[in-house]
C-alpha cells in the first residue's frame, strides 16, 4: 500500500496521492463555495496557479475538458435567455437577461476551475495508486475491491462489446431504437460471457491469497506535501472570506 499511496511526478504536485486527493477536494469544495461574480477573478487565479503547479500540458487539459464542456455550453445558452427580469438586449421574441447571464458566468467559472483542478491533480495519478490512496484514507475495503476488479474487467467488457457490435453489423442487424430487444440481447450475451470469465478469474485470485495480506503501514506524509495542502486550505479560506465580504 505504501507504494500505491505515493504518486511519482516531477512536478510541484504533492507526491503523496492521499495529499493530492486532499488538495483537489479542498480546492474543489472551496470553488463550489464561491457565490459572487466579484470573487471569480481570484478563483480563476488560484485555479490557474494550481494547474500550472501540476505541470499538466494545457493542450491535454483542454482535450480532457471537451467532453464535460458540452453540458456547460447548453446551460450557458439557456440561462441568459430564460432567467431573470432585467433585459439587456432583445432580438424578436428572444431577450438577453442580466440575472441569467450572471448565473451562467458563475456556473461556467466554477465548473472550469473545479474540473481543471480535478483533472490536473487526480487524472495524472496512476489508477492503482489512486485506489491505494483512497483505501489509506479510510475508504472501505469492499469499495476498493470493487474498484480494482472493475478496472481489471473494464478492458474485457469493452473488448467483448466491440467484437459483438462488429458481429452484429456484419450480420446486417445494427442496433436500432425500433428493436430495443437487439440491445437487450447484446447486453445479456455480454453479461453472461463476462460473468463466467470474471468468476474464473476471481477464483484464481482468491486461490493466490487475494485479500489475505494485512494492510501495510502507511508512509509518513512529507513536509512539502503538507505545505501544499496548507496552501490550498489558505487559498480556500481567502476565497470564502472574499465571498462573504464582497
Amino acid at each position: 500500500m505504501s507504494e500505491l499511496a505515493t504518486a511519482s511526478t516531477g512536478t510541484g504536485l504533492p507526491r503523496d496521492a492521499r495529499l493530492r486527493i486532499g488538495v483537489a477536494l479542498t480546492l474543489g469544495f472551496g470553488f463550489a463555495a464561491v457565490t459572487r461574480l466579484e470573487v471569480v477573478p481570484a478563483m480563476l487565479a488560484v485555479a490557474a496557479l494550481a494547474v500550472v503547479a501540476s505541470g499538466i500540458a494545457p493542450r491535454a487539459l483542454a482535450r480532457r475538458m471537451r467532453g464535460p464542456g458540452a453540458l456547460l455550453v447548453a446551460v450557458l445558452l439557456v440561462l441568459p435567455l430564460t432567467v431573470g427580469q432585467t433585459e439587456l438586449a432583445r432580438l424578436g421574441p428572444v431577450s438577453l437577461r442580466a440575472e441569467g447571464l450572471e448565473a451562467a458566468a458563475l456556473v461556467a467559472a466554477r465548473f472550469g476551475c473545479i474540473v481543471a483542478v480535478a483533472l490536473a491533480y487526480l487524472s495524472t495519478v496512476p489508477v492503482l495508486r489512486l485506489i491505494g490512496a483512497l483505501r489509506a484514507l479510510g475508504v472501505p475495503a469492499l469499495l476498493a475491491d470493487i474498484a480494482l476488479l472493475m478496472l481489471r474487467y473494464l478492458d474485457e467488457v469493452r473488448g467483448e462489446l466491440a467484437r459483438m457490435r462488429v458481429a452484429m453489423a456484419l450480420r446486417g442487424r445494427p442496433l436500432s431504437v425500433w428493436r430495443p430487444g437487439g440491445a437487450g440481447l447484446l447486453l445479456a450475451a455480454l453479461l453472461l460471457r463476462a460473468h463466467h470469465r470474471a468468476d474464473r478469474l476471481w477464483q484464481a485470485m482468491r486461490a493466490r491469497g487475494w485479500g489475505a495480506a494485512p494492510p501495510e503501514a502507511q508512509p509518513r506524509v512529507a513536509r512539502a506535501d503538507l505545505m501544499a495542502l496548507g496552501l490550498a486550505v489558505a487559498a480556500v479560506a481567502a476565497l470564502v472570506w472574499l465571498d462573504r465580504a464582497a
Binding site: F31, A32, L161, A183, L191
Partner: protein, 210 residues
C-alpha cells in the same frame, strides 16, 4: 444525468456526500450480514464495469442517439451492491473523463444510485412468476429507474442553480425534461425486460440478485 461540477452550491454538494455516505454505510452493513460478503465480487465488479462502459452503447434515435443508463439493470442484478458499485463507477467517470464531478459525486450517486436500489426492490416484488411477469417487472424496473433519476436530476439542478427560476419556467423545464426522458425510459425498460428474458432462460441464478 450527471450533475457537473460547479452547478451546485457548497451546501448541496456537502449534503450529497453525507447522504451518499449514509446510504453506502447502510448497503455495506446489509452486505456484511451475508455468510461470505465477497463471494459475489466478480458479478459486482463486472456489472460496475458494464455500468462504466454503458455510455459506449449508443442506440440511434434519429436525428440523434441515446446511451443507456443501466441503473435499473444494476439494481435488478446487484441488489444492495448496486449503490456502492454505482458510486465507484461515478468516481472513475469523474476522475478519468471529467463526466459528473468530484464535488457532485455524492449528489450523482444519490441521483442514480437510489433509483437503482428502488428498481432492485421493485423487481424482487415479482415473486415466482412466469416469463411475462418477469418481463413486466423488468420493464418497470428499467424504465422506472430512468424516470426516477430524471426527476431527482431535475429537482437538484433547478434547486441548485445560482438563479431563481420563476414557477412557470420551472414547471416547463421539468415538463420538457420528463418528455425528453420518456423515450429513453421506454427504451431502457424494453432493454432490461429483454435482458431479464434471456437471463431467465440461460442463467436464472443471475436474476436472484446478490
Amino acid at each position: 444525468m450527471h450533475v457537473p461540477d460547479g452547478f451546485l452550491p457548497l451546501g448541496v454538494t456537502l449534503a450529497g456526500y453525507a447522504g451518499a455516505a449514509a446510504v453506502t454505510a447502510l448497503c455495506l452493513s446489509r452486505i456484511a450480514r451475508r455468510p461470505d460478503p465477497r463471494a459475489d465480487m466478480p458479478r459486482v465488479a463486472m456489472l460496475t464495469a458494464a455500468f462504466f462502459a454503458g455510455s459506449l452503447i449508443h442506440i440511434p434515435v434519429p436525428p440523434t442517439s441515446v446511451h443507456l443508463l443501466l441503473s435499473g439493470l444494476t439494481g435488478v442484478l446487484l441488489g444492495w451492491f448496486a449503490f456502492p458499485a454505482i458510486l465507484v463507477g461515478l468516481f472513475f467517470q469523474a476522475v478519468m473523463f471529467g463526466h459528473g464531478g468530484i464535488t457532485t459525486l455524492g449528489v450523482n450517486a444519490l441521483v442514480i444510485g437510489l433509483p437503482a436500489l428502488a428498481a432492485g426492490a421493485l423487481f424482487r416484488l415479482r415473486g415466482a412468476g412466469g416469463p411475462a411477469r418477469d418481463a413486466v417487472f423488468g420493464f418497470a424496473a428499467g424504465g422506472g429507474a430512468v424516470l426516477l433519476a430524471a426527476g431527482f436530476f431535475a429537482a437538484v439542478v433547478i434547486a441548485g442553480l445560482p438563479a431563481h427560476l420563476d414557477g412557470e419556467l420551472e414547471r416547463r423545464a421539468i415538463g420538457v425534461l420528463a418528455l425528453a426522458m420518456l423515450p429513453l425510459a421506454a427504451i431502457e425498460g424494453a432493454v432490461v425486460a429483454s435482458i431479464v428474458g434471456v437471463l431467465r432462460r440461460v442463467d436464472p441464478g443471475l436474476l436472484r440478485g446478490v
